[in-house]
Amino acid sequence: MSSQQDDLKETDTEARFEFKKEEKSAFQTEKGLTEETVRVISEDKDEPEWMLERRLRALEQFQEMPMPTDWPGQPDLSEVDVDEIIPYIRPDVDVRAGVDDWTELPDEIKDTFDKLGIPEAEKNALSGVGAQYESEVVYQNMQERWEEKGVIFCNMDEAVQEHEEIVREHFMTKCVPPSDNKFAALHGAIWSGGSFVYVPENTTVDMPVQAYFRMNSEGMGQFEHTLIIAEEGSEVHYIEGCSAPKYSAFNLHSGGVEVFVGEDAHVQYSTVQNWSKNTYNLNTKRAIAEKGGRMEWISGSMGSKATMLYPSTILKGRGASDNHITIAFAGEGQDIDTGAKVYHNAPDTKSTVESKSIAKDGGRTNYRGLVHIADGAENSSTAVECDALMFDNESTSDTMPYMEINESKVDVAHEATVGKIGDEDIFYLQSRGLDDDDAKQMIVSGFIEPITEELPIEYAVELNRLVELEMEGSLG
């Protein structure tokens, strides 16, 4: 334990005061992205050689790939200039030692998470909590009873050190290789922090595991990596929350999520993201489901200037299934381009996609989806449903569902609705005493209810609050 933390523990007021006045970050890289930067990050993390090599290879791929610009109707990324971001900021916490006592966190960070609604009390309802501040996980805790069963929940950097073999096998190899897209490559080069979850065979973690990511500094990028491995017959629910305050410069969030769903295993990945309105949120999230495995993606995308995010699932084994529930909210100046991708690569696979979007004050939402059914994936079925809700005539919403069906014995359904919030609905609620705003809010929270009901109550409340604040236009 560092002497600074000793000071904290002794509750020496003066020491605390001085501590808070110190530099917020212990170390940060220069702006921009060079081989040198990548080496510096890897060195600062004391990584094994193979990880550095992967980073450098990813960097090469990033430099070779062009920016995506030609997708129909895609968000404008011309402002995204990697030379202008700070890829790595290590806050002043002794992350190497691992902080697993909330009270040991610096006040500033603790306050931030308290304000975000990640108070210590929540630990009681969760199997484990991790909190990332800037580029590093500053707090991590897992209930002992899960640890005893061999469940691992730690930050990704620690996993590289402590569980090297598993990470080496799975990290950006089969699920999300850096070659997948330009931002996956960027992520591969400068990733930092994130979560590692490993659930052994036939183990059910019956309370959610939670991670929270906070980007606090101006002009930074956050590139956390989440790797979830659920062995055969296991079950886990992982929840991620993300946010960043608003600064004048743009921020870039380019996370990577890889999920391995073993035979007959069940993984639920839920996220509520609320980025500041100048964040570019460009992520790659993918799951591979083995025979009989079940993957569920539940996501609420709030905030950001532009989001491009299409969580995808590869249904690799017979009878694997996938369920997507997504919600997007776009206000003034926002372009939320999100959807789902499902690859049916085996027979008897099932998928459902339920996508809801809300646009107001000229915001734009787009559902971009892909369902691929491979030749031979007989008796597979998919159902896609997209509902868009608009507040006014200035807002726009598009639906771009691609279906690639190469097998005839399948069941495919697609349904899309686009509607303006109904005047009759609003009037009905007003006639019961709700004012115009509350009536709209009630309709919207009903609209997103399929998502909130899947989330633990703390997140459901948070999502509702975020939506309400968005509706009031009071989120900056």
Partner: protein
């Protein structure tokens, strides 16, 4: 004692060249009375109901709608309101303000709101009404509304748990609700369903009466509450309407095509509407005569007197 007073009300569809529908309606409904408003399709009955409640699809071109309340009607407010009568020009108020003052509209085709449970909705409606009432009467008394206090938005969300000051508590709410639902012979399972979503026609109508029972309006305008009801449901709904009057002293303006419901809910007054005007008023016997003879004779009478 509350009185709804409609004087020479003219209204048209609120769009360019919109059709004139109400052409000088005069009608007065007092609390504790049941009025039946009858008339053929297209005579303007539903429009009148919507205009009273403030529907934005209609534009009032002339006339006024007044609501008179006395101290009894405002007894729920803790404030030391003066011992006086209150007069409100409803046409100047938002629909939710009218609701807060005690106007209730029972819809012929209630909206279906997915994802909002009945419990959640009713609690929020009750709390909204209480808040709005306080504000309206504070303003009336010329006191500055406390901006900080009013702007607590999501703090009052039912998901936030315990009620804030002045809000109805969960236990109290549940108790009142159970009583009212029992009266209407409604299953408790109703409360976890989404507002009107997938409700049968009869269930929707029962739900409208349940809401009136919960919100305790001074005046309830029920737009064809009897349409689409089988005989059992009709009896339940009728019992509910009678209870509104007997237990809450609500004044009811019941819009209907048929005599049938009037067998169960006996009106004190019956009015006939034709071509956007109330052309004839009488007692319960008028409804029976309409049932026998239709509207043509009323039309002839009206033309003669015109």
């Amino acid at each position: 004692m509350a009185t709804l007073e409609i004087n020479d009300l003219h209204a048209r569809v609120a769009e360019e060249g919109g059709e004139r529908i109400l052409r000088g309606v005069d009608l007065t409904v007092e609390s504790g009375d049941i009025h039946a408003l009858m008339g053929p399709n297209g005579s303007g009955k539903s429009t009148l109901a919507k205009v009273i409640a403030g529907h934005p699809a209609y534009e009032v071109t002339d006339g006024e709608v007044l609501l008179h309340l006395d101290e009894e009607d405002v007894a729920d407010l803790d404030d030391d309101l003066d011992d006086e009568d209150y007069h409100w020009k409803l046409l100047e108020l938002e629909p939710n303000e009218r609701a807060a003052l005690g106007i209730f509209l029972g819809f012929q085709y209630p909206a279906e709101i997915e994802g909002v449970t009945m419990t959640n909705f009713l609690r929020q409606a009750l709390n909204a009404k209480a808040d709005e009432r306080e504000e309206l009467f504070e303003d009336e008394e010329g006191e500055e509304a406390d901006a900080d206090e009013d702007d607590d938005g999501y703090e009052t969300s039912p998901m936030e748990g315990p009620a804030d000051d002045g809000e109805i508590g969960v236990a109290e709410f549940q108790q009142i609700l159970s009583e009212k639902m029992e009266l209407l012979d409604m299953d408790e399972k109703f409360m976890q369903r989404y507002l009107n979503a997938g409700f049968s026609g009869g269930e929707k109508k029962q739900n409208e009466v349940l809401q009136a029972a919960m919100l305790e309006p001074a005046i309830a305008v029920l737009d064809e509450i009897d349409s689409g009801l089988d005989i059992d449901r009709l009896q339940d709904v009728s019992e509910g309407i009678n209870a509104l009057r007997d237990e809450q002293g609500t004044g009811v303006l019941q819009i209907t095509h048929y005599q049938r419901i009037l067998d169960y809910v006996e009106p004190d007054h019956v009015h006939v509407m034709l071509d956007g005007q109330v052309v004839k008023s009488g007692g319960a016997e008028l409804a029976e005569k309409l049932e026998d003879k239709g509207y043509d004779w009323v039309r002839e009478d009206a033309f003669e007197t015109a």
